[in-house]
């Protein structure tokens, strides 16, 4: 059974790339970059500002794809699966949270920072925003693993419960960031790419 990568978004090196076209570019710190992208794309969601960098990054990537593909009008919330991965887990926020409990004499653990010390919260944020209630998983690996995501997406699509999978890699560690999020569907709505390991790899590396 063939599946298709219908659309992809890469956020890397101060650029946002949608299907090979640069749609936003700005050389600045990651937080400002993501906030300015949020404003550029007229995303109206106040909760965005509460998110940590990792969730902001995943959120921007998913917002762009959701708008571009119209997936929410094509699929019901429980038909969409979310499978993401990264290397650093929630390390960036772990450090920030640790700062709030480091000093025995002056410690104020922050609940809002603690909430983000799990990498799968980014999936939660995307689900909450878009009312996506399908299957969801998060993997931590040393580097981007096309085979893992390929197998997982295919197994989900082989069931009759899942009809599209938003998947990819979203990694943040201080100012080092790398996001590659793509949509896999059963049918090919646009001139898309066949969903296979080599294609996934090629898109990730060449962008």
């Amino acid at each position: 059974m063939k599946n298709f990568i219908s659309r992809y978004c890469i956020v890397r090196d101060s650029k946002i790339n949608l299907n090979g076209k640069i749609i936003f570019e700005q050389e600045t710190d990651l937080n400002s970059f993501l906030i300015n992208a949020y404003r550029k794309f007229n995303i109206n969601y106040a909760k965005f500002f509460k998110m940590d960098l990792l969730c902001k990054l995943a959120f921007i990537g998913s917002e762009i794809l959701v708008k571009e593909t119209g997936m929410l009008s094509k699929y019901k919330g429980n038909e969409i699966a979310l499978v993401l991965s990264n290397r650093a887990s929630s390390l960036d926020t772990d450090r920030n949270y640790l700062k709030t409990i480091e000093n025995k004499e002056n410690y104020f653990p922050s609940p809002s920072v603690f909430v983000y010390t799990l990498p799968n919260i980014m999936i939660g944020e995307i689900s909450i925003r878009n009312k996506i209630t399908g299957e969801n998983a998060f993997f931590v690996s040393e580097k981007f693993d096309p085979e893992l995501l390929f197998n997982y997406a295919n197994s989900l699509l082989a069931s009759d419960k899942t009809n599209c999978v938003l998947t990819g890699w979203t990694d943040v560690d201080k100012e080092n960031y790398d996001a590659f999020i793509y949509l896999v569907e059963k049918t090919n709505p646009y001139p898309g790419t066949e969903h296979d390991k080599n294609q996934i790899s090629a898109l990730y590396y060449k962008g």
Binding site: P109, S110, P111
Partner: protein, 89 residues
């Protein structure tokens, strides 16, 4: 000793910073408007916990999560009032 009104203005700035209310300016927050729920600042349960931390950190006051919390946290005014009444000199 600052006035209650000065405390309210200071609180607004602190709330915006602590709760990441980036799209909101202090002058947009009405002192006696509800903080939580629809029509308020749209704060949620995590924000309430974060305000508890803010009060302890900045004013040395411990607030235990009980029924009284709803009254104290109703608006910037009730929050400022609570701090004003109980703040250690």
């Amino acid at each position: 000793m600052e006035t209650l009104q000065q405390l309210e203005e200071k609180l607004k700035i602190q709330l915006i910073q602590q709760l990441n209310l980036a799209e909101i300016k202090p002058e947009n927050i009405v002192s006696d408007a509800p903080l939580f729920g629809d029509g308020g600042l749209g704060l949620d349960s995590i924000d309430a916990l974060e305000i508890i931390v803010l009060i302890e950190k900045n004013y040395g006051l411990k607030i235990v999560n009980s029924e009284k919390v709803k009254e104290i946290f109703y608006s910037v005014r009730t929050l400022a009032d609570h701090i004003y009444q109980n703040q250690k000199p």
